[in-house]
Every structure is written in C-alpha cells, then in structure tokens.
Amino acid sequence: MAEVLLENVSRTFGGFTAVDDVDLRVAAGEFVTLLGPSGCGKTTTLRMVAGLEETTGGRISIGRRVVSEPARNIHLAPDRRQLGMVFQSYAIWPHMRVFDNVAYPLQVRRRPAAEIRERVERALRLVEMERFADRPAPALSGGQQQRVAIARAMVFEPEVLLLDEPLSNLDARLRTQMGDEFRSLQKRLGITTLYVTHDQDEAMALSDRIVVMRGGRILQIGAPTEIYQRPNSEAVASFLGAPNLLDATVTGIEATPSDPSRFTVQGDGWQGVACGNQPFACGQSVRVLARPEDLRIGPIASDADATWRGEVIASVFRGARRSLRLRTSAGELHFEVPALTEARVGDMMQIEAARSSLWAVAPG
Amino acid sequence: MSRVLKWIVCAGWLVGSSATVSAQSADWTAVVDAAKKEGKVVVYSMALGAPYYAAVLKSFEAKYGIKVESLDLRASELAERVRTEQAAGRFLGDTEIITTTMIEEQLKTGDYVQKVGDIPNAANLREPFKTSDVSVPAYVQPMGILINTRLVKPEEEPKSWNDLNDPKWKGKILSDDMRPLGSGNTMFAVLQKKMGAPFNEQLAEQKPVFSRDMRNDARRVARGEYPIYVPQVFAFASDLKGLPVKVVIPQEGAPYAQMEFALLKNAAHPNAARLLINHFLEIDSQLLYANAWMLPVVKGAAERANDDAKAFANAKLMGMATLAERPAMMELARKLYQ
C-alpha cells in the first residue's frame, strides 16, 4: 500500500483559487476524509490526486512517485496512477453489464480472461453483488450501483482508493449501512483511502483522520475526536455539529501547564473555565464552544466549568432526546436533555457545562 | 509540243507526288511503330462515355493493341484539369477532344498544346472542315428544332427558324438557357449572325421557358409539357426512337458545335495520340458517329449511314459560334432575356 503526499498543492481556475496551498499526507492504509461545505475544493483536490485535474502549483506524490508537479512539467495521466475511484454519480457505464463494468480495469490492463473472471467474481462477492453479474448496469438500484462502483474501484487492488461523496445519493438508512460495510472492507484490505464528503457524521464514523477544508484551504487535520473536541478555529468548531459559541474574555491561565491548557474566562453574565490549545493571553477575546450534548440541567456536579440561568423558549421532542433552547444573558443556548425531562416553554432553569467540556478558540 | 510538255510535267508531278506519298507513309509507319512501343494513350474527352465514342476507342485498341485511357469530363472541368496539370508540371494527358473554341482559348491563354503534325486521314476531310497546326476536326454536333408530334400537327411543323416566332408558339417553347455558355447560347449567336438581330428580338418576345438539362428537356417535350424544344442536338434525339418527337432541320441550316483533337504539350505518348487521331478519321469510325445522327467530318461516311441518319449526316450547316463574338453574344442574350 502506498502513501499519498500533497505538498503546497493549489489549483486556480482563471483568477479563482479553488484549492489553495494544501499540505496533506495520507499514510499507507489510512482512511482520510476531506470534509467541508459544498464548493470548498474537496472534489478538486481529489481530482488532482486522480490526475483528472491539473495542479497549478505544488507537488503530489503517490507512493514513491511524483505524479504532479507543474514546476517540473510533470503531470502523470490518470491511467498511469494505478488508482481506484468511486464517483459521486457512480459513473456506471450504461452500455455494459455489471460484469463488464467491474472487469473493465482488468481488461484495459490486458489481463488473461481467466484471471479477470476470477477477480471480478471475487470483487463482486466482496460487495455481495455476485448474483447480478449479468444484469445490464442501468437496471440496478442506487445502492447496487454504488456497490458495483466500489467493486470496480477495488477489482485490481489499487494502491489508493479515491471516493467522491459515494453515499450522497443513497437514503439515510442505506447510507449508514453502506458506510459501515465499506469501512470494514477498507480496514480488511488495508487500502489507502481518500474520501470526500460534506457530511460530518459520515466523516466522523468512517475516518482515521479528517481534513476540514474551507475556501480551498485546510483548516484542520486530525482524528475525528480531535477535530470534534479540539477544533483549532471557530470555523472548524461551527462546521461540526451545531455548537453554542459564546463571546468571552480570558481572565486567567491555569498555573500548571497541561495539554490542553485551561483558561478562566468571563462572558456576559457568566464566568467559567474553558480548555484550549492556543496560547491565549489575559484580556484576549475568545469564542467559547459549548456542545449541546455537554450542557445539562443543573446543578448536579460541584465541578461544573460554568453555569447559566435562563428562560426556556423552545422545547422539541426528538424521540431519544429533547432539544431545548434557553435565553440567557450570554445569548441563546441550545442543548439536549433526556426525552422525558419536564421542560416547558417559559420555565426558568439553570444549566451547567460538564467539566473540561468548554473549548476556547480564537474568534473569526 | 506543248501537249507533250504538259504530259511530261504531269508525269513528273505524278512521280514526285507519289514519292512524297510513299515518303509520308514511311514516316507514318514509323509513327505506328513508335505508338505501339508507347503502348498506351490518355485522352481527355467531353464525350462522357458516349457509346459511339467508346466503340471507336475499342476498335482502335483492337486494331493496334494500344490501350486507351479516356478521362471523361465536362467542358470546364476538362479545361481546368488540363490547365492545372500543365501548370503543375504533371503531364498526364496525351490528347484532348474538345470544341474548337476551347482550343482557341487554350492557344490564347497559355501554352498547352503542341503541333499535331501530319495526319494521313486528314486529307480526306469534307468541306468546310480543315486541320490547323494544332487541331484536327473529330466530329460535329449540329442542332435543330425538336417538336412533339402529338402537339404539333404536320401542317404546323416549323420549316424555318422564323416559324418559331409564330404567335401561336408564344410561351410554348422550351429552350436551353441562352444566357450562359452552352448549346442555347451557341444557337443564339449563330442565329443572331445568320438570321439577323430582329429574329432574336422576336424570339425573346415569344417568352421561351429556359431549362438547363438538355437530355431531360427533350423528354419533357416528348411527354407533352411543351410542344417545341430548341436547340435539339440531333444526336441527343437519336435514342428517343419510339417517342412522339421529331427533329426538324430548318431550311436555313443547323448551327453546330465542332469537336477537335489537339495534342497536349509534353504528351508522354505523342505517337499513339496521333495514331488515335488518325483512327478517328477513318471512315468506319466516322460512320459510327454518322449513325448516331452526327455529321461526319470525312468524305465517304455520310453515304454509308443508316437511312434514318442520312438526313442528319448530310444536314446543311449554318455556322458555329466563335470565340471572338462570344462575350458580346452572352451579354446580348442576358439583355434580351432579363
């Protein structure tokens, strides 16, 4: 298995920079997801790795081979990069049967017929589509087409697999199921995988590491938990989940250095302790991130990092959980409580943040 | 005494001329030998695969064992191919059979043809045909008036070109377009000269309907669309036997187009070409043309023509269009037939 290395990669269309100075290393066997809102340059990045899009700057290497480097006039054609790819539209060739679709990567590599048959069967079995080998490709449901696309991408055991929003055309239930199946398959085969999605749940469930992008730039790279719990910017923080973001000022830094550091912060009508890994100074304004699932009706614990009081202005039953919205002096806060909690609009209540759950980031 | 002298002179002349004849035939034998060595001759022709033309070529091949390659083209295409090839230095053709005026034009605009030299059979040419330095007459296409015998009663049949201007034919004459170069304009030009300007002016008043496809037009007359068609090339009616049409040769005579041979410059097979020209002037060859209702150019062919062809083979000729008058004639036709 090969690693993929992007160094200062950028891509401009005319005057518009779609991908700006991206640095990324995908280790061999790793599952890395590019995550970001639509139009942030994920697809462009992926296509540059595939060789479908030319780079206008930087260098891309796959394994030990430089595949794109405009400065040295290198641009390896896509067919010579030995990749597997799953397209958002699946790109199932409508004029071929399922078998021919999957066999295609082997046929163009002029493998012997017997080998092709065997490997196609194996690939189809892997995605549980062996019964459909003779079906005309267009006569498949979305989920089936997706499996065929995956089988096709993996049939010649590529070093690197690229996937562009492969699940976005499926319904919610199938999406979860296919995602899980794919992840276990990927782990089993240990294929280096670069995955593109705008769906954070999908990204977090599948990835070893997530690359959060916006406006063509990488905001943060890290494991799902790290990205989620320790975002390095307000943008990252707000993109994952639907957090509360509160204005505050740093009033003190905890003496014993730890990772992360702990700061005392002071907001509008509240004060508390927030973690952070940026070197904030006293008096600096920060944004404090409070995830809805970390807030609870208090007081429960003595070591809560902060407390707020306010009036319930919305209460929505969601089955497993109940979402509440509270108007406080610090602004509106939303959070989740067990479904059976009694909370009516107009009730006054106090809420608190679990210990070490608040996270401070620089505003902006 | 003077009588004796006369006899002596005559005898001497006879001996002398027979000597030149034998000298000439010795020359000609050399030509024939050289032609056979050349083995092939390339002709550019406007005949477009006419059966009598093909028959002449076939008899030539059979007689001499020399292969004939004939490239059939329409007039302007032929001229342009010859011109282009010569200008580009690709001398692919040996000889051409084209109208007299086209040869005149070639002589005027460039250096495309060479001297033909003596052609023995040219001595047998009929009046008014004669060779020039660079051309030898090949055959003649006279034209007359075509009538539909169902629509034109025998007593109404035009006898003279003037009869076309009878008011009863107003709007009923189909004609080859007289404005552009072609048979229509040839007729226009010859009639202008021989019948006088008023004739053409009156004809224009008859509002003839113009068309551009002579072969189909004759059939349109046969089918009864129009009672009269001018000008009808005799030969083009020879294969309409069985249809209710008849070709009238007006008493004033028939305008005609004359086809002539010329030898192309830098011909690769000049001797074979000259042999072919000579073969074309054989009575047997000309007879094929006469039987196709054309006018043979040598003596002795018209007499042997089939009965139905005799009249055409001996038709009175009226004249042909000349290169010098052509622009004026085309201009005039354009003016009369706006």
Binding site: S61, S89 | R90, R219
Partner: protein
C-alpha cells in the same frame, strides 16, 4: 501536523531515458498529438482553401501569370448578387425551418411514443435522403409540372378545374424538393438525441404538473438544444449550398441562387471565372461563420449531459388511439416524399422511357444494361472501397476532433473545431477546385494527384464536418464522469475513446458513418475533378449515363443504392435495438 517534506521521495539522477520518460509524463505528448491533429486538419481544409483564397484575389488561377486584385469581391457586392443572396437565404431558411419542425415531430414520434411499427417507419422516413437528387428532381418534374404533371391531371380530372394545382417550377417547388432531403437528414440527428436522453428528466417535469406539450417544450427541446442547433446550422448551410433543386426548379422560374451563380461562373463562362466563384464562396463562408459563432455562443458554458452514470431506461409515451394519427402522419410523409417520386422511378425503370407507360415499351433492358455493365460494377467496387475507407477514416477523425473540441479544455481546441467546420462552409463545386489545385501543386514528389488517394483525402475532408457535428452532439450528452472513471481505472485515452465514448455514442457514430458513406457515394464535384482512369466512382458513371440520356439506367442505379440504404439502415437499427434493449 508534522511538517511535510519530500525528502523521502527518491529523485533518481536524470538520465536521457528518464528525461524522455519525464517528457512523456508531462504535456508534451498531448501537445504533439494536438499539433499533429491541427496539421492534418489544416491539410484537409486550410490548404485547399488557401488555394481558393489565392484564386479569389488573383485574376487568374494558380499557375498562370496574372495580378492580384479585388475584382472578384467587387463583383460580389453588386445589386444582382444581393438579389441572389436574398433568394438563397430565404429558400434555405424556409426549408430548414419546415424540415426541422417535421424532423422534431418525427423524431419524437419514433423515439418517444408507442406509435405502431416505429422501426419500419424510421427506415422509411430516412429513405428520401439517400436518393440522388437528380432522380427525384426528374420524378417531381413529371409529377408536378403545370401542363401534364400527374398530380395536376389527377386534380383537374377530379375537380373539373382548368387551373393546375401545383407547379414545381417555382419557389415553393425548390423549397419542397430541398425539404425532402433535409427532413431525413435532420431527423437522423434529432432521433438520436431523443434516444440518448434520460426520460427521468421528462418525468420529473410531468411530476411537477407540466402538461405533455409543456414538458416537451420546456424540458425535452432545451435538452436537445445542442443537437437541434447543430442540425439546424448544418442543414441551413447545406441549403445555401444546395444545387440540384434550384437548378431544376428555379431556373425555369428565373430564380437564381448562389450555387447556380457559381455554376454559371465556372461551367458556363467563356473562361471559367474562378475569381468570382471563390470570392462569392468566401463571402458566404464569412456569413456562415457568424452563424457558427452564434452557435458557440448559445451552447457555451451550458451542460446538456443527459446520459449519466446513473443509468436510465428509455420509456415511451402511451398515446392511446392517437398513436394511429402519429402513424398516419409518418406514413403520409413517406408516401409523399418516397412512394410518389420513387414509385414513379421504379415504375419508369421497367419501361423504355420514363413516363411512357405503354405495353410495347415494357422492358428489362435498363436493368440488363446496368447489371451487365462492367463499368458500373467497377464503379460500385471503387465507390465501396472509398466509401468504407473514407467513412471509417472520417468518423474516426470526426470522433477525435469532436472529443477535443467538446470534452477537453485544451488550448487550441477551438482552432481545431474551426478547421473541421471550414470545408462545410465552402460550396462543394468551388471546394473541389481547391482540392484540384491543392493536390496538383503539391511538390512533385508527393504524388497524391491522379491517384485514388486524392479522392479519399477529399472525401475525408468533405465528410469531416458532418462527422464532427454528429459526434459532438452525441458527446454533449455524455457525462464527464463516465469518461474520467475510465481513465482513472487504467484505460488510456484511446481505450477510453473507443470503449466508452464511441461505444456510448455509437448509434450516432453509425448514423454519421452512413451519412458519410452515402455522402461519398453521391459526391460529384470533387470526384469528377480528381478521379483518374481506373478509379471511376459511381457518381462519375451516373453523370456519364445522365449526359448520355440514360435517365432510366441512372434510376436503376439509384434504386440499387436505395436497396443498399435499406440494408444498411436495417442492420444498423437491429444493432441499435439490441443495444437499447440492454439499457
């Protein structure tokens, strides 16, 4: 994140072989290929055109002493020529609009409705296109002349009227005759576009509450825009260059168009006036160019990709009893445009002369003379050889050019597109002269002139515009994913072109092939100027027969050609059916 570096990536020392390999990994191969393509197209179109440009600016044709001047162009901008222009544009516009309407109607009926016997109708509707125009012109002359035309006689007999019903020797006659050719031509384009479209797009519109007609107007038609506009342009331009119809039906009515003016100036002048003919052609070309630019403008930046990787199944609209009406419409067109004229020819071919149906003139002589004529067979063989080779080469070239111009963002692709358009915009009669000059004046060592290659090259040049248009219209409908997916999975550019693009667009490929094949079969202007002894082609032989008054023999050959078309189309449609049924 740790800092990244590429130190771990090995950089082998540069040796020559590696440098070359590096070169091949860059853009060099593509640039080379593109340059080769541009050169090839330039030779096919720019080179003969440059000869003509010289001809239009020089008092004499190439190879003759003369001077440069603008008299050819000055002659173009005169009042009589303006009238000729107006006639030409008016006639072509009329016939294009009408035939486009008909073609869209038929395309829709054949590909989208449950009209009975659609397969047979499809073959029948396209038949008129493949008949030599000279034959149908003659047949329509027999049917529609005001004096003794069959239609008029029948009308007068039925109605007791004295005045004729129709007169083909008129504007309407010219338009009508052209219509019979452009309708099938446009139909061939449109029907494939209909077929290639995902019905889901239409269904979506129906689901939104739009009526059938509204759906057709708002969704179906706009999606087919590239195909329809391309077809419109091709047909309009072809209309400007149409020759037989105005010659036959316009001349007697004193209607002159550009082609007849050119014909006069080349074939019926004391000295062929190539300067005027080519100047006139270039002016037309300039006008057409504006049209092409307008087309680019219309299609620019819009996506018409209706064939996606998600697959679809074509579905037909159930018309209920109305399907008999649509059936009747198709049959009516077939009867008027094929049965009437071709029936006339077929019937006529068994009599000694056309139009004289007498028992004693009944004969098989025409068939005997054609079938027993070595020249005809040799011409058939030559034409087939050239047709197969030429059509295949043309389609391959067209597929590549269309690919470059519609599916890449390579710089220089517009140039290639333009180069491929050019020959279409030059009237055939004039372009043929360009080829003659071009081939003859090549350096002496390059002996294309006078060989069969000259014909082949000219045919490829003449056919490329259509093949490019056909293939571009087809490519326009294919989503990029399908192709990129192939590249990523290891297929080279060539493999992708063949196995994905052409394979997907192959109904269009086949249609283009047939169009090109029969285009070659019919081409006369260039053939007659470029053929050499031994390489006679069918059109030259037909010309000979025609000029020898063997109209009946010509129609026998024409009927044989139709039989061939029948066969071709039948096989082709069988194959398309098989292909469609796998969808």
């Amino acid at each position: 994140m740790s800092t990244l570096s590429s130190n771990e990536i090995t950089h082998p020392p540069m040796r020559w072989g590696i440098r070359f390999a590096r070169l091949m990994e860059g853009k060099a191969p593509r640039r080379l290929a593109l340059a080769a393509l541009a050169l090839l197209l330039a030779f096919l179109s720019l080179y003969p055109l440059s000869m003509l440009l010289y001809g239009s600016l020089h008092t004499t044709p190439p190879g003759m002493a003369g001077t440069f001047n603008l008299s050819g162009y000055i002659q173009v901008f005169t009042w009589p020529t303006a009238v000729v222009f107006a006639n030409t544009v008016g006639i072509s516009l009329l016939k294009t609009v009408f035939s486009l309407l008909l073609a869209v109607l038929f395309g829709w009926i054949i590909s989208r409705t449950d009209t009975p016997m659609r397969g047979s109708l499809e073959v029948l509707i396209t038949l008129p296109f493949f008949v030599p125009p000279i034959l149908t012109a003659m047949a329509w002359g027999m049917l529609g002349n005001p004096q003794v035309g069959v239609i008029n006689l029948a009308w007068q007999w039925l109605s007791g009227s004295e005045t004729p019903l129709v007169n083909v020797y008129s504007y309407a006659g010219v338009v009508w005759h052209m219509l019979q050719y452009s309708t099938p031509f446009l139909f061939l384009f449109v029907v494939e576009a209909f077929r290639a479209m995902d019905p889901a797009l239409e269904e979506a519109s129906r689901m939104c509450g739009a009526s059938q007609w509204r759906t057709f107007r708002r969704v179906t038609l706009p999606l087919m825009l590239p195909a329809v506009i391309t077809a419109f342009l091709l047909s309009f331009i072809r209309g400007l260059e149409s020759f037989e119809s105005p010659l036959f039906f316009g001349t007697p009515a004193k209607i002159e168009v550009v082609t007849t003016a050119i014909y006069n100036s080349i074939h019926h002048q004391s000295i062929p006036n190539y300067q005027f003919a080519s100047a006139l052609s270039f002016v037309i070309m300039g006008l057409m160019f504006l049209l092409v630019i307008w087309q680019w403008h219309l299609l620019r930046g819009r996506s018409f990709q209706t064939v996606t990787g998600k697959g679809y199944s074509p579905r037909v609209i159930k018309l209920g009893p109305w399907r008999w009406l649509t059936f009747a419409v198709c049959v009516l067109f077939f009867i008027i445009s094929v049965v009437l004229p071709i029936g006339q020819l077929l019937l006529g071919s068994f009599f000694q002369f056309f139009g004289f149906y007498q028992w004693d003139m009944l004969t098989l002589d025409h068939y005997r003379s054609v079938l027993g004529n070595d020249e005809v067979w040799r011409a058939f063989r030559n034409t087939f050889l050239l047709g197969f080779g030429g059509a295949s080469a043309t389609m391959v070239l067209g597929s590549i050019v269309a690919y470059v111009s519609t599916r890449t963002r390579w710089s220089g692709r517009q140039l290639i597109d333009v180069l491929a358009w050019l020959p279409w915009m030059m009237p055939g009669m004039v372009l043929a002269v360009g080829f003659l000059w071009g081939f003859a004046f090549l350096p002496g060592a390059i002996t294309i002139y006078g060989t069969i290659w000259a014909l082949l090259i000219a045919y490829v040049a003449l056919g490329t515009p259509v093949s490019v248009r056909v293939m571009s219209a087809a490519y326009h409908q294919l989503s990029f994913d399908l192709e990129e997916c192939s590249r990523v999975h290891g297929a080279s550019w060539w493999q992708t072109l063949w196995r994905i693009l052409i394979a997907l667009a192959w109904p269009s490929f086949a249609v283009g092939w047939v169009l090109t094949f029969f285009g070659i079969m019919r081409e006369l202007s260039a053939s007659v100027l470029l053929y050499s002894v031994g390489s006679e082609v069918l059109s030259v032989v037909l010309l000979r027969m025609w000029e020898n008054g063997q109209a009946e023999a010509v129609s026998v050959v024409g009927l044989m050609m139709m039989l061939l078309v029948f066969l071709f189309r039948w096989v082709q449609l069988r194959l398309i059916k098989r292909y469609v049924s796998t969808l």
